[in-house]
């Protein structure tokens, strides 16, 4: 009986760490998707600044690389 309680306790403990409890679920991201949550409130300006930054630093793709690490983009 002691073993049973121990196993149930450990199972419940591990469930506490489960992904469904610790991770924000995709359907719960309404407020994250809000425009005011954006790091830069002006998307067009941010894109322009990013473009200038990448040219000056000669690091195209170094901001948020699209595709893999082949260096072809």
């Amino acid at each position: 009986m002691k073993h049973l309680f121990f196993i149930v306790f450990v199972a419940l403990f591990l469930v506490g760490c489960s992904e469904t409890l610790t991770r924000v679920q995709p359907y719960e991201k309404e407020h994250f998707a809000d425009a005011k949550m954006s790091l830069s409130p002006l998307a067009e300006r941010a894109e322009h600044e990013g473009h200038i930054f990448l040219i000056r630093e000669a690091s195209a793709g170094g901001d948020s690389a699209y595709q893999g690490g082949c260096g072809c983009r």
Binding site: H3, I7, V15, S18, T20, Q25, Y27
Partner: protein, 160 residues
């Protein structure tokens, strides 16, 4: 051995999402206007595409016109149920009004996200193709484009 089995059952059962071949979880939800209540049982005998969407989700908005044409092409034996997961139904109503088309399918509102929890929705949008007997035949993660809709149409035709 007995304990290991029990332990496994307790833990792994909590991670299980819906899979192809599972019975579609039942629901009781109100329409977006709050006037009617729909349950999964209402759609027994029809092929159903259950779509989980939200107005803040770009992919969900992108596929909505495709869904409108899909429902228009399937007037018999097929129902598309779009379950909105916005906190406020006003946001969903506003988005649908921007489409400037009559929505030919049922739009339900799941404020408490119970259906998304029941389906263990892993991404937005998610769609589930359900057969006449209420069994899940396809789990679609992500938004659908016109090519995907054509493939889906074939699948719907076989299930009808």
């Amino acid at each position: 051995m007995k304990y290991i089995l029990l332990f496994s059952l307790l833990t792994f059962s909590l991670f299980a999402g819906v899979n192809v071949g599972d019975k579609a979880p039942d629901f009781t939800l109100k329409t977006l206007d709050g006037k009617k209540t729909h349950t999964m049982k209402d759609y027994r005998g029809k092929v159903v595409l259950l779509n989980l969407w939200a107005s803040w989700c770009k992919g969900c908005k992108k596929e909505m016109p495709e869904f409108i044409s899909l429902q228009k092409h399937n007037t018999k034996g097929f129902e598309l149920i779009a379950v909105n997961l916005d906190d406020s139904r006003d946001n969903a109503t506003h988005f649908l009004s921007t489409l400037k088309q009559k929505i030919p399918f049922t739009v339900l509102h799941d404020e408490k996200k119970n259906l998304a929890k029941a389906y263990r929705c892993s991404a937005m949008p998610s769609s589930y193709l359900i057969d006449k007997n209420g069994v899940i035949k396809q789990v679609i993660i992500g938004s659908l484009d016109s090519n995907d809709i054509k493939i889906l149409q074939d699948e719907i035709n076989t299930l009808k």
